[in-house]
Symmetry: C3
Subunit: 396 residues, 3 copies
């Protein structure tokens, strides 16, 4: 409890500007915004461990909209909503269509008459997901301004084509807690590496989210991938800039083993090549199934050339004292476990399995924290009031 | 707040008999019943705006059963339930089968052991939807009488083949608030007009609900449609009788432009012709896919003859001072927006778009009000107690 | 209320060891465990009737995982969760695959960061369902031990290949309340009889659950089926042993009419033959559709030979004073109602229809009781505190 109070005091020194704002891209947020979310998440996590209720809604509605499959993020979102007192209502739209214009305007308002928060995953189409979220945001702005909505629900990006902020922020909180502070991350080498997977077409949002966020905290970020597996160029350039500004460094390389040398943290993960994803969007929009099949064939053939991009015990030995922290957003493609050849060898994964679970465990609290900061202008004071209220989450 | 108290005082003058009753058809309800629902809905809406919690269930279960697709009504139902403190559990039955007899009796009881309220949408089959709701109601009556159920859950009709009471009541509340009072509606001309849509087979329940409800408040109701697009005759006759009794009038016409002359309010909307819907039910029951395809072809061909039934700026100019209030239950088929040719032109819709959102925004509160009146014998006193309790919906 | 207090006093004399334990198989539980669940269920049911809230979670999450279709158990689980203050989040996995190893370990942890309780139905594959639940349990044990999870969520078996404890416990509570006490069940003859159904492949878990549970309370259990319709041998042997130990008896017979003689209670229900279910699992695992079709043909042909295994008015006349209590887990296959020829004749079912509804009505409370006993070390004291708190479930 004394620890919670100390954390609240630390939080009160920050000047976040998250009140009433959506959380769509980490790079639109200030350092204080990010630090505040991390701090609130840790405090909420500790509160739950100490059986202190964080219920701030006597009734409340959180809307989830998953335009792609999800188990982890779905549970994180509903857990976060429930912890604050909101019930989840899912907007179960067909995932195959891209809505625009009046459809988006109208639906956004129709689901929001009594909604407090909206979470959206839309990561299938490069160039579309984040755009869609902004269209929803604008529709809500208009609905609120016109008196249609009694409040403006906040929006959280649960993964788009550009960023996956709840994932990357969970990853960062894991790093902060592992090394003791954000300060301690300075000078650490983190490798975001492509890795082989038998599947094709995984979104670019996780690697993009990781490099764009970690580069802001003085880390030495290395992005490694076989040529052809570029990410969105603007995000890579931005990460480079962030690294410079924060006193870290940013490097792109094309040799997995080389990149691992002296790494403190490694994040080996498959993603689709940018140029393939770019070609995919118009084909999907046209509904050109033949074209998509052809494209997939090309991509898989390209993919198959890089089976050696597997994170193994040998790779691990190359890292700093052979003990780099292994990260993954899960589920990982584990060789001889979930597939024949994958992103990581069974022994390398097993050695860090529990770590990856701990990493994932921050997500519900990161989402709670984003919601909390959106609703309370002074989050530190609000948390203090909750601790003082001291209502049991469970008990009589 | 003083306004809320005044509204509660007004409500206390009414003698509704809604306690413990289902809400299946507006024409089974007294004027006081309808006025009480409108009043409660407005009060609950204002309470939410003033952050006063309306939670009356510490735990509670609302069951939704959608035998047809729905987004707007689904969200309205879950919002309404949540606002009063009930969690929603969806009964996800196959929508293609019509259940009868023991299946209905049994399922109705099985889902109701701890249910407080049940909402049903069943609008696909003419002659079936409302019948089904009554079968559920009877099953619950028996279950309660026999001691199977500790309470008799209330039922609300979320759209059937005959009526769509939560829609029409939202529409009426929109009119009441737009014009200041129900009194002010007397003598107003409202046109419920058929309009062209590229789709076929939309339920008759919205136009039927609108004419049967608006005719009770002294309005001059005009029902306009191309010949062949009749509604259920008994409901049209009833509306005629209601109009006479309430000091209004009722007229059927077959020329859209003519009908618009001097209209205060217009409601242009597509529906399927009655005789087609009548033929459809036995075909659906038999599973006669060939027959259905044939019928659809006939209907679409018939439909295509009436593309001129579109609500345009020119049509609007014909209405009273060219400024008639445009209503729609949404989503509208907007020409050049959601389809090539539809119910309403893009400019005519855009001019009233926000109005239609406001209209839709009453639905969650109408449903809450129906639930509230079902559970509290003296709703005015109960609302007074809630205001006095003054618990925050959101906050610490 | 005085009755509730008396029941709590009775409960306080028992020494259940359910705290922090999963409820997977009744035969792993002590007599006091079973008696405590029955007692808590009755108390919670009475509390709800007297409008006393049993909410013990200010916020809380219950996860349901249905790897087979379910309406009754789904509603029971969500009702039970809601009554204690937990919201349900469904884990909607594909039902066709059997997960193992890392997939189970990982998913179990990912859904449990903020979960308080998990309910699982997995009854499709003989030899797999219960095994799966134990794998989930182990994964949660590990996650909790490793600090991944802040609590160890309890697990309740909502039907597996071996047992259906929430069903059999509801059945037992129905018997206890019908005859006044568990003592009164001693010496009563209960017949668990196979009955004909036009469908094939119903799980063995209900009959197994019934014989394994009823044999523990001094009843004379008779298991009747046409040769070839054996149950899992170990469970039958165990039931025999239980019957001996409890002062009852256990008998297997192959003539429905014979078995009915002098029966106090009858439970006629279809199930698939054990040897067919055994062959089915490897075929399902291999995805051998041809083999499955062939097997189904054989099973249906075998089935068709036993249409005379129908519980009729004539069968009923053979029971004690012609008035045996008829039980069924519902839905029953009723001849000339839900199918041409089924498990029970229309008149025999109709005479006991309401009884079967009452029987089913215990399930939400049995599940609540299992959850309650898992979370409170001293359930009697906790219930006493709830009664003393005297918060209204519904009201202002």
């Amino acid at each position: 409890m004394s620890d919670i109070k100390k954390q609240i005091e630390e939080l009160s020194k920050l000047n976040p500007e998250l009140f009433g704002k959506d959380f769509l891209l980490t790079w639109e947020k200030s350092d204080d915004d990010l630090k505040a979310v991390l701090a609130i998440a840790n405090i909420l996590k500790d509160m739950r461990s100490e059986n202190i209720s964080a219920r701030v809604f006597d009734s409340g509605l959180a809307v989830s909209q998953f335009r792609d499959n999800s188990t982890r993020t779905r549970f994180s979102f509903s857990s976060a909503s429930n912890f604050l007192g909101m019930e989840v209502q899912d907007l179960d739209e067909s995932t195959s269509q891209i809505a625009h214009g009046e459809t988006v305007r109208e639906t956004s308002n129709m689901i929001s008459f009594m909604a407090d928060y909206i979470g959206i995953r839309d990561d299938m189409y490069l160039g579309e997901g984040n755009k869609y979220m902004r269209e929803v945001a604008q529709s809500l702005d208009e609905g609120f301004a016109e008196g249609v909505l009694p409040q403006r629900p906040g929006i959280v990006n649960l993964q788009c084509d550009m960023d996956h902020p709840t994932q990357a922020m969970s990853d960062l909180l894991h790093l902060k807690n592992t090394y003791g502070s954000l300060e301690a991350l300075k000078g650490k080498k983190i490798v975001m590496s492509w890795a082989y997977s038998p599947s094709y077409g995984k979104p670019l949002s996780v690697p993009q989210a990781v490099i764009a966020l970690m580069s802001r905290f003085g880390m030495n970020v290395e992005l490694a991938y076989p040529e052809g597996y570029e990410l969105i160029p603007e995000i890579v350039e931005m990460s480079e800039k962030f690294a410079k500004e924060s006193g870290g460094s940013f490097k792109v390389s094309h040799n997995m083993a080389e990149s691992m040398k002296d790494a403190d943290i490694v994040y080996p993960k498959s993603w689709a090549p940018f140029h393939i994803m770019e070609k995919r969007t118009p084909l999907l929009l046209k509904g050109d199934k033949e074209g998509l099949k052809e494209l997939e064939k090309t991509a898989l053939a390209e993919n198959a050339k890089h089976k050696d991009w597997e994170y193994t015990d040998e790779m691990k030995k190359l890292t700093k004292t052979g003990q780099a922290l292994y990260m993954h957003c899960l589920p990982a493609d584990i060789s001889d476990v979930s597939c024949k050849a994958g992103e990581v060898s069974a022994t390398a994964f097993e050695a860090s399995r529990i770590d990856t679970y701990v990493e994932a465990g921050y997500k519900p609290y990161i989402i709670s924290a984003m919601m909390f900061a959106n609703k309370f202008e002074k989050p530190a004071e609000a948390l203090e009031a909750l601790v003082a209220r001291n209502r049991k989450r469970f008990g009589i």
